[in-house]
Symmetry: C2
Subunit: 363 residues, 2 copies
């Protein structure tokens, strides 16, 4: 058995993408949308990218149960045992724990990459090279490895990782994790060259992450220990167990519960054209612009005295706009949003306000 056969991938796609509301909706979140107009959804692009380096049967999708049909439709090649359906939303630590126990029951030697479904990676060959370097490292070290992106601007929307002592190749020990900095601090981070964006892409041996979970969040590890390994290889038994055990897990992120605490945490600094596609502004920055610096998605636009806008309209529609600068104009499924890009952090609140005022039909 070559080492490739022991490598697994877990694609997390349970988010609702509310920062892209109304284009991303609770019933059709952004990872299930062909956001870049390439003909493949973000989930499909993530699958395509990873299937170049991981055996297709070793790729798992973990998502909320309500999105099962969307995943089956978009990735018909998957079998049911590759689809881990969460019965409740519990952030990344329980999600990753389940996947680790599920994989370990099949292959005690396994290593795994965990990646969100909704990121964009533009340099695919470099991505593959980086991931393979990471696998080689975690397979020969008891290491929890995270991918650190070389920053290109003083971004205040990301967490940062400070590199410590070099380990091997592009991999170093992690010195510190820092939450989203303010702009002044972000500029300092950028200038030092020691700080990298926290991508949320992780690699480790399943034995290493299980050990770390036992050590740092034992409640979660013990919850998954409660089932015998055979349970995790029997689809029906596993579903029944998870339906009981998963909702009882605390809701906590893997960063907060493990990565920021463990002492065997490493970062691989990478440059594979990563974008987390986290907000309308990041999509705007990533997208090709016309001569007015406007970005259009799926619509015809006539723009007068207008620039710096992003138009994302579902359905064949004409948008005529006069006198808008740096706005988001998004229209989908019964909701039209017109909001300055600079105030996009308010969109989550708007979704809540809409729900309070008009019920959940617009969620």
């Amino acid at each position: 058995m070559d080492k490739r056969a022991h490598r697994y991938c877990v694609i997390m796609c349970g988010g609702i993408g509310s920062r892209f509301w109304p284009y991303s909706r609770a019933r059709l979140p952004k990872q299930f949308i062909d956001f870049l107009g390439t003909g493949r959804t973000l989930l499909q692009m993530s699958y395509d990218r990873i299937s170049n380096i991981i055996p297709a049967s070793n790729i798992l999708i973990i998502t909320n149960g309500r999105y099962a049909d969307l995943v089956r439709e978009q990735l018909p090649e998957l079998t049911d045992s590759q689809l881990l359906l969460e019965p409740a939303r519990r952030n990344t630590a329980p999600c990753i724990a389940w996947a680790a126990w599920h994989i370990a029951a099949r292959d005690p030697e396994a290593s795994m990459i965990v990646t969100p479904a909704d990121h964009v990676i533009t340099r695919e060959a470099e991505f593959e090279r980086s991931i393979l370097e990471g696998f080689d490292f975690v397979e020969s070290h008891n290491a929890l490895l995270t991918m650190g992106i070389s920053p290109t601007r003083p971004e205040t929307g990301y967490g940062y990782i400070q590199v410590g002592d070099p380990a091997q190749g592009n991999i170093s020990k992690v010195k510190t994790f820092t939450e989203k900095p303010d702009i002044e601090l972000a500029k300092v981070f950028l200038a030092t060259g020691e700080f990298f964006w926290n991508s949320g892409i992780f690699l480790w041996r399943t034995s290493a992450i299980r050990e770390a979970l036992h050590k740092w969040v034992p409640d979660i590890a013990l919850a998954f220990d409660a089932a015998a390994p055979e349970t995790y290889t029997d689809h029906k038994a596993e579903s029944a167990f998870i339906a009981e055990a998963f909702p009882g897990c605390m809701s906590i992120s893997i960063d907060y519960s493990v990565m920021e605490k463990a002492d065997n945490v490493y970062v691989e600094t990478v440059t594979f054209g990563w974008n987390d596609l986290g907000t309308w502004s990041t999509l705007y920055d990533l997208s090709p612009k016309n001569s007015d610096r406007n970005v259009t998605q799926n619509c015809n636009v006539l723009a007068y005295n207008s620039s710096g806008n992003i138009f994302a309209i579902r359905g064949d529609k004409l948008v005529v706009v006069d006198g808008l600068e740096d706005y988001i104009i998004a229209d989908a499924d019964g909701v039209l949003l017109i909001c300055p890009k600079a105030r996009e952090q308010k969109i989550k609140q708007m979704v809540t306000d809409a729900k309070v005022k008009f019920g959940d039909k617009y969620e």
Copy 2:
């Protein structure tokens, strides 16, 4: 036969209302829309209003042939002989001439009121009183009478009529007609008290308007003289004649061809709460506002940092808007328009631009 039986009304409803695009469309212009949310379209409201003072069988609708089904649907009480279907768009002079010849063939003693279908009149009792005063006057004088609205602001979007020597009651000779003035001149007009808005509502005996057409635009009068009176009382014969004769008429307004030239032109100054509903701004001014001074039509709106806007959205939709002041936000039938109210005069050009760039599907 009492004098009421000799009174006719011609409701002109052939316009496409492109200043209200995209809410008003070539295939469904504004007169066919329940624009004020009252449950009746503007055409129906015009019909209701006039049917209080004119026998229902004496009310004619003149419109473009493409709108025949819309009129029949909205006013099912009409017979086909009450529906004058223009085979081409030729402005108001040929339209009014045809109606006058059509009525004269039925009743040589007839008097008639001509009114657009898309105006709003809020004081109905005062409207009725004014119209009856006008009929009494034109029935006893060889007069072409126009309704002059007492101005309430220095409006630059209307033509003005200056009153001359008093004739009878609220009726005077017309001294001058003035096209849309600039704001300075409009203020002077308002201050003098001599100037009234030209409403486009006319009253006269059919014999008087036919005589005036013969004198001032004989080409048009002779075109309609070419058919015998019996032709105008035979629906099939009339349609065949009009199909030939009407498109050959020059396209010219009744104001320019007759009213501004004739010497028997009178104005009745009225105060019946008239609004020509000519633009989004006039609709905004006319409509009830919420606490943010926003006006909403047919939609749920969540507005943040936004005031002075008008939202007109067809279909059950939620609009969420942040940071818009004094805009038109209109969405209907595949077109979304976002335009400052102050630049609404550009909308006609936008319709043309859209047609050039994307074809007539958005017209």
